[in-house]
């Protein structure tokens, strides 16, 4: 008998022995909040997001319009000599970078290797959704977010979130993400961190040690 058949058989036997002994299956009751109190994209929701990101020691920037992102990126990345971006990023956002900054575009067809990415200072992406309650930004590999490796190896990640992408609660975020569960997702809540030494938190380990979040609108 192969392992699959045997294990599934064991599981069925384990359950048969007790089924009937127990009351009928208890239904899953979802009395928790499916929707937060704050409206998606509201300034209150954004305030909560900012509060959480501050707590994680992420750098938060708020700008009014997509046009102002360009100048802001110029400031944030002023000292940066190399930047990698996904293919679908809003092109004009990079117009403010200094002329000395090399911009590499990473695509599925022409991916940069891990060693190449290790030579790049920073990455700029958009995001799929942001959850205010937990300070979480989710990337799902859409063209403006790119392959997972590009947001992992460079030491600085600048993530641009539209205000209308900010939802209050985790269930609201999961509902949006559930539309494309097949996409690889990375949930990011602040820069990498560890609490492995005496359970005191240290920010910045293997993932990007610096996280900038730009909230637009």
């Amino acid at each position: 008998m192969n392992a699959r058949t045997e294990i599934l058989g064991r599981v069925r036997r384990a359950l048969e022995g007790v089924r009937g002994h127990q009351a009928a299956e208890v239904p899953v009751v979802r009395d928790y909040r499916l929707v937060g109190d704050l409206a998606p994209g509201s300034s209150e929701a954004i305030d909560v997001l900012v509060d959480r990101l501050d707590d994680y020691k992420a750098h938060v920037h708020r700008v009014e319009t997509s046009e102002t992102v360009t100048a802001l990126l110029g400031e944030i990345l002023a000292e940066t000599t190399s930047v990698v971006v996904p293919p679908g990023l809003e092109p004009h956002w990079l117009d403010g970078l200094t002329s000395g900054t090399t911009v590499r575009t990473d695509t599925v067809d022409a991916p940069l290797s891990a060693l190449e990415l290790d030579e790049i200072d920073a990455v700029v992406t958009a995001a799929r959704v942001a959850v205010a309650d937990t300070g979480t930004i989710v990337l799902d590999g859409s063209p403006d977010q790119g392959r997972r490796a590009i947001t992992l190896v460079p030491d600085v990640h600048v993530c641009i979130v539209r205000a209308d992408q900010v939802v209050h609660s985790v269930p609201e975020g999961v509902t949006i993400l559930a539309a494309h569960p097949e996409r690889p997702q990375t949930w990011i809540s602040g820069p990498s961190a560890t609490s492995d030494i005496e359970l005191s938190r240290v920010e910045g380990v293997h993932g990007p040690r610096t996280l900038h979040v730009v909230i637009v609108g």
């Binding site: 036997r13 384990a14 928790y32 599925v108 991916p111 269930p171 569960p181 809540s189 005496e198 293997h206």
Partner: protein, 522 residues
């Protein structure tokens, strides 16, 4: 060279001695307090004996008290701000209970979805079979090194040691696991395997066992973390094969999830060409939406954060992004044994947050190694003996269900409401029933039987109370009993017993309330 830690000599089959880093001194200090277990779910002595030894280690107690009190406060703060925390716990418990009763269908559903997306599913009846599968998969790639994400299940099956025997070096990349691996130690906590080490001990381990530690490295956690980053960076960038566990597997979509903090998980899950995930069959959740429950419960219960820094989700293979050769090993290894107990199976709903360890007054005093299993603490005390089964009273695991005062702190914090005290009592009852069935007499059993006879009848009980008057003679004028023969000595070694009273309550009642008889109103 000798250190204050008394680091044990390295196991010859350990990854770092056979692997490429060559960081280890030829004459590593000898003197191990935690020998390498051949069986990661059953090593060492009985719990009382192991606990006694651990209690003598004042440094350990200080480290644990500091770490657990820190995390308890953090957890309480972030749980306190969630208004629907109890509703989330109820939902989490209900989803997991549903999974247990529908496991065959959910496993099949998951397998189909994961396979449809280009992943390969393997099934392993036990640790040896899982290790064999993983070793063969690694060998098929031609690689002799793998990077690993922290994973309880690979600790449970002793994967690193099994791979080492096949000439494959496994490198732990989680900071705490790295500390444990470098020190040739055993994990003592589910979330923070090196919780028993403080910063200066960790510095010592790094200086002795890690190559290229920075000049003048102090014991500041930040500096130690940076040393680990530098140490592992090249490994990550060049690794071709990674091994992980999984926190959740979504049946309807075939999605796997790893919840982590440092980014070592992302490195392992993203950069290599081959990814092998090992997961217990109980980790399934039915729907993608169920993640909205567990991703609220787990981080707050675990690290005391609103959300952990990184969570990765992958569904089979994503063309052009991440590993293109993706495997999952579904492991039984005693889980179906636990499942067959309709009460005990609640232990399988654990999401490995470790909140129960952090609040446990017993764990806080004795640490994780006393449990003799990679699953320590309250959850370990109910999970370990169910996974292994018990071979009788000489089995160290048979002492685990008694490693608790039943204080209930674990149940109060459990995000999926596992009634650990009730399960401990349940497992104690099973052990008594097994003794009865096998006609195995015990001293406790005889004492309990005698006590039952006396306590089931008021007349017999009152007669026994008269015998207590003898205690007044033992106590003498001090009114205290300070020394009793065994087993009473177990009490009087550190505590007095008061002298029994001149008059029991029953006698007093009869004397002062003569007009009432047998409890009826006069």
């Amino acid at each position: 060279m000798s250190t204050f830690l008394g680091l044990p000599s390295l196991r010859s089959r350990g990854a770092h001695s056979s692997g490429g880093t060559g960081v280890l001194p030829e004459h590593a200090p000898v003197g191990s307090d935690v020998p390498h277990p051949d069986a990661p779910l059953r090593w060492g002595t009985t719990f009382p004996d192991a606990a006694r030894a651990a209690l003598g280690n004042t440094q350990l107690r200080r480290n644990l008290a500091h770490a657990t009190s820190t995390i308890r406060d953090k957890r309480a703060a972030v749980v306190g701000e969630v208004p629907d925390w109890e509703e989330l716990r109820d939902a989490g418990a209900a989803i997991k209970a549903h999974v247990m009763t529908n496991l065959p269908d959910l496993l099949a559903q998951f397998e189909e979805a994961f396979t449809a997306r280009g992943g390969t599913v393997h099934w392993a009846r036990d640790a040896a079979e899982a290790n064999r599968i993983v070793a063969d998969l690694v060998k098929a790639t031609g690689e002799t090194e793998v990077v690993k994400v922290k994973s309880m299940v690979t600790q449970e099956i002793g994967l690193n040691e099994a791979l080492a025997e096949e000439g494959i070096a496994a490198f732990e990349t989680d900071l705490a696991e790295l500390i444990v691996q470098l020190a040739d130690d055993m994990p003592s906590h589910i979330l923070v395997p090196a919780i028993h080490r403080n910063r200066s001990e960790i510095r010592e381990i790094f200086l002795e066992r890690m190559e290229h530690t920075p000049e003048g490295m102090t014991d500041a956690p930040r500096e130690l973390a940076m040393a680990a980053r530098a140490h592992l960076r090249r490994k990550f960038l060049s690794a071709k094969v990674a091994i992980s566990g999984a926190n959740f597997a979504v049946a309807e979509t075939g999605t796997l999830t790893v919840v982590e903090s440092e980014g070592n998980g992302r490195m392992c899950l993203t950069l290599p060409e081959t990814l092998i995930t090992v997961m217990g069959i109980e980790k399934i959740v039915p729907t993608f939406a169920d993640l909205e429950v567990f991703m609220q419960l787990l981080p707050r219960s675990s690290t005391g954060e609103r959300m952990n820094p990184y969570t990765s989700l992958w569904t089979g293979v994503t063309p052009g992004d991440g590993p293109q050769d993706v495997h999952l090993v579904l492991l039984d290894n005693g889980r179906t044994r636990a499942l067959s107990d309709d009460v005990g199976r609640a232990a399988l709903t654990c999401i490995r947050c470790s909140a129960c360890l952090n609040v446990c007054p017993v764990y806080e005093r004795v640490g994780g190694h006393a449990y003799g299993s990679v699953y320590p603490g309250p959850i370990g005390a109910i999970l370990t003996p169910q996974l292994t089964g018990s071979t009788g009273h000489s089995d160290p695991n048979s002492t685990l269900p008694y490693a608790s005062t039943l204080c209930g702190a674990c149940y109060e914090v459990c995000p999926v409401k596992i009634d650990i005290p009730a399960l401990l009592v349940h497992l104690r009852a099973k052990s008594v029933e097994e003794d009865r069935a096998r006609n195995r007499p015990t001293a406790w059993g005889a004492a309990m039987k005698a006590a039952s006879f006396v306590m089931a009848d008021a007349g017999r009980f009152a007669t026994a109370e008269k015998g207590l008057a003898l205690g007044r003679i033992v106590a003498g004028r001090s009114g205290r009993i300070s020394s009793l023969p065994f087993p009473g000595s177990l009490w009087t070694e550190a505590r007095d017993l008061p002298a029994p009273p001149k008059e029991t309550f029953r006698r007093w009642w009869e004397r002062t309330h003569p007009d009432t008889s047998d409890g009826e109103r006069s």
